[in-house]
């Protein structure tokens, strides 16, 4: 029993790891294709059909390029920066439920690596660790542009974490639990949290853009002002690690948003489908639905990137502190009042 349990988790972790890597790799391809589509170009089309082998070609290129460690840099921290960024980005997906319990070979398998009862706070903690990769790398480069990028990254993450935390508080008032699995189960069929928390979701998604350093909030690597920001001095695979970490963060935050606000693996009339297909194929449809939602969010990230220009730094801070935080607090107050009134009725 114990061994079977370990084996089951090992397989699940391996699948999740490979899946995360391949989604991140193909996000780089999709980003170029989406950019090309929005700008009426063709995009990558030389490696394989529709350029589908492009991520492999890019990966190979990154491995074989020369690794340059600047002589004035702090060698160990220079290597630790991208490693930490990549490591931390993988941690988040451990608590995300990708589907209902599924019956495989006579065993009921939960499609979640671990269900800790403080799941949301865990994600929040991992997100707040993400900034260390950027800070350490930027500082260790011994380059003023890198340092500027690193410092921008730190202040931006801390500012937007507050608004994000306040959104989560409002969500907790609705769900009454911190466990991802219970939150996903509560949103059965069409009772998605976005219906009860539209404003909270809006603030959350803006904060997610800021936390993953995506356009319009990619000020840590703002090319026009800072050359390349925190990764100016990086080359070859270390550069690739930072880029990969960004895409993995995007995948994890899309998954978190899908579970917290858009019902995760739930979809309307799922009971009928489950009754029709049985306990193995029914949950698999749920997993497919979950991934459709995640891919839709990733597409949204890319769509915004090629639509909205970058913010100025003071505008970013104004938006975070003077607009999002008061709005999030108002959201908490309104949610609390509505819940109290509804309970009394």
């Amino acid at each position: 029993m114990e061994l079977a349990f370990l084996f089951e988790k090992l397989i699940l972790v391996t699948i999740l790891f490979v899946l995360t890597l391949s989604i991140a790799a193909y996000s780089t391809w999709a980003e170029r294709k989406v950019a090309a589509w929005l700008q009426d170009r063709v995009g990558p089309n030389r490696a394989g059909i529709f350029g589908l082998l492009q991520p492999l070609a890019d990966g190979g290129k990154m491995f074989f390029k020369e690794e340059i460690i600047p002589s004035g840099s702090n060698k160990w921290l220079f290597i630790a920066g991208p490693s930490l960024a990549l490591l931390v980005s993988f941690l988040g997906s451990a608590v995300i439920p990708f589907g209902q319990n599924i019956e495989l070979f006579g065993r009921v398998v939960p499609l979640q690596v671990t269900d800790i009862n403080v799941g949301i706070l865990y994600i929040f903690g991992v997100v707040s660790l993400g900034v260390y990769g950027i800070m350490i790398g930027g500082w260790a480069s011994n380059n003023k542009y890198s340092l500027m990028g690193a410092i921008r990254g730190a202040s931006q993450n801390i500012s937007y974490e507050i608004a994000m935390g306040l959104c989560i508080i409002a969500l907790l008032l609705v769900t009454n639990t911190l466990s991802f699995k219970e939150i996903a189960e509560q949103q059965h069929s069409w009772h998605w949290n976005v219906i009860y928390q539209p404003l909270g979701f809006l603030i959350f998604i803006i904060c997610a853009f800021a936390e993953t350093n995506r356009v319009p909030f990619d000020l840590p690597e703002c090319e026009t002002e800072l050359i390349g920001g925190y990764n100016t001095e990086y080359s070859a695979f270390k550069m690739g690690a930072y880029m990969f970490a960004e895409y993995i963060n995007m995948f994890v935050s899309s998954a978190v948003m899908a579970v917290l606000y858009f019902g995760g693996y739930n979809y309307p009339f799922m009971d009928n489908v489950n009754a029709l297909l049985g306990p193995t194929w029914g949950p698999l449809i749920g997993v497919a639905v979950m991934f459709i939602k995640i891919i839709a969010f990733i597409f949204f990230f890319m769509w915004v990137r090629w639509t909205i220009p970058r913010f100025r730094y003071d505008q970013l801070m104004d938006l975070g502190w003077k607009i999002l935080i008061p709005l999030a607090i108002a959201n908490i107050v309104i949610t609390a009042i509505v819940i109290t009134v509804v309970d009394k009725l």
């Binding site: 009862n117 260390y132 690193a150």
Partner: protein, 167 residues
């Protein structure tokens, strides 16, 4: 139990490294590692909520700010001011006094009954919340007022600085 000793060893090792490293940025990084081992201690005690909050608040927020300030000032080994002997002696006396106080307080504590945790489930979110909002409501609210006053003070300081700059 052996896991506890291993983690405790790491905690002490990292905290010693915090003190003995010359470079302040390294010190902060070792301090982060120390806080991480604290998180593991909390998990071993089944205090999941405390573990995660320690993780978010200390490792995720406070230490980022520490690192932020140190990187902004860009302190290096070369720029570190040479401390005079007087300061070193004062430091030794102050540290020695603290050591005596700590040893005295440990001595005064009756550690005979290896206090068996009254309720091993107390560290879970729901139980902790119930205790905080019933039995310990007053201290809880008072400590939040303390934080609020600190925040008001910080805002006041920041504002004053701006006015002198403009005028």
């Amino acid at each position: 139990m052996s896991l506890f000793y291993f983690v405790a060893f790491l905690t002490i090792l990292f905290s010693l490294l915090v003190i003995f490293t010359k470079n302040p940025v390294y010190s902060v990084l070792y301090l982060i590692a120390t806080f991480f081992t604290f998180t593991i201690h909390y998990i071993l005690l089944n205090a999941q909520f405390l573990a995660v909050v320690n993780f978010i608040v200390y490792m995720g927020a406070i230490m980022v700010l520490f690192l932020f300030v140190l990187m902004l000032m860009n302190l290096n080994k070369e720029t570190e001011p040479v401390k005079s002997n007087l300061i070193k002696i004062i430091g030794v006396i102050a540290g020695g006094t603290l050591l005596v106080t700590l040893i005295g307080s440990i001595h005064a504590l009756q550690t005979t009954a290896a206090s068996a945790t009254p309720n091993s489930e107390i560290g879970l979110v729901a139980n902790l919340g119930k205790v905080l909002f019933s039995e310990f409501l007053l201290p809880f609210e008072l400590s939040s007022l303390l934080l609020l006053s600190a925040m008001v003070g910080a805002v006041l300081l920041a504002k004053k600085d701006k006015r002198t700059q403009n005028g």
